[in-house]
């Protein structure tokens, strides 16, 4: 990957998410926690309603990095903090998570990318960072 510099911007990735998508991730990941399909169960533990999986929010955002890097096998490290839940209303539109990425460091053939993820203008991931081999 030629000419990667700190400050390079990876652009923006907008990922819509509906109840259908949350159910599909439950099946694909085999995480069948009821807060991901039952408003009743979610509200019983003080949540506003059905949530997207934190691991979905983490995984879907990595597409911004792997599309930029070309080969997903170049990712050597990925970390996030789950700061706020992504609440998914039972509507046709659902909601949307918006990701951005910026290269912050290039050292020894490894680029560090800082990611942001917001939903309804609130940060849903904190300290999200991926390291990618660029040699």
């Amino acid at each position: 990957m030629p000419d990667i510099q700190p400050g390079d911007i990876l652009g923006e990735l907008r990922v819509p998410v509906t109840r259908f998508d949350v159910v599909r991730y439950s099946g694909a990941s085999t995480d069948f926690n009821e807060i991901h399909f039952s408003d009743r169960r979610a509200k019983a533990i003080g949540l506003p309603g059905v949530l997207a999986h934190g691991m979905w929010t983490m995984g879907a955002g990595l597409k911004l990095v792997t599309d930029w890097a070309g080969d997903p096998g170049r990712v050597t490290r990925y970390r996030v903090r789950f700061t706020r839940p992504v609440v998914v209303p039972d509507t046709d539109e659902g909601t949307e998570v918006v990701y951005t990425g910026t290269v912050t460091d290039v050292v020894d053939g490894l680029a560090t990318v800082n990611l942001t993820a917001t939903c309804e203008n609130a940060e849903v991931l904190g300290a999200a960072r991926a390291e990618v081999r660029i040699d």
């Binding site: 990922v15 998508d21 599909r24 991730y25 099946g27 694909a28 990941s29 085999t30 995480d31 926690n33 533990i45 934190g54 691991m55 979905w56 983490m58 995984g59 879907a60 990595l62 597409k63 792997t66 599309d67 080969d71 997903p72 096998g73 990712v75 050597t76 490290r77 990925y78 970390r79 996030v80 903090r81 789950f82 300290a127």
Partner: protein
């Protein structure tokens, strides 16, 4: 004899909570997980990620697929009666993956969980776990999760 029996029962009904001394505890690995082409494709579609690397003739898995396999090892932690942890009172606070190589179709992946760190703050337990994923003894991914666990009121 009777006293010993009573203590055993009490331990089962009111388990001692998890403490910092549990750091270092390791569980036997979960049965090996076979990575399949169909599951890779299903997972990539669920992430809305159409990268050809996930759909070609020799696909690799999306990096965060490691969490699906790591989660198979979580059962040992929540099944450890001594710790008194309940999945329904647990929130995933952060996640770190160190990837050594991509997971591929046909890999038989072993996942072994170790408790790395425990911090107790009143009613809250912050538990950092490390799940080591390996294929034929070769490390493929280290997945670390910090779990925030709320004790039951009776334990507080």
């Amino acid at each position: 004899m009777r006293a010993a029996f009573w203590r055993l029962s009490a331990t089962k009904l009111h388990p001692m909570p998890i403490t910092p001394e549990h750091a270092g505890r390791t569980y036997p690995p979960a049965p090996a997980y076979r990575v399949s082409r169909a599951k890779i494709a299903e997972f990539a579609v669920a992430l809305k990620d159409d990268n050809p690397a996930y759909f070609n003739e020799a696909p690799i898995a999306p990096p965060t697929f490691a969490a699906v396999i790591a989660a198979q090892a979580w059962g040992a932690l929540f099944g450890d009666d001594e710790l008194g942890l309940a999945l329904s009172r647990t929130v995933h606070a952060d996640q770190v993956f160190d990837f050594h190589r991509p997971l591929r179709e046909g890999d038989d992946v072993t996942a072994q969980l170790t408790i790395e760190k425990v911090r107790v703050r009143g009613n809250l337990d912050m538990v950092t776990i490390h799940v080591a994923l390996s294929v034929d003894g070769e490390p493929v991914c280290d997945a670390r999760s910090t779990l925030m666990h709320t004790k039951e009121a009776a334990d507080a």
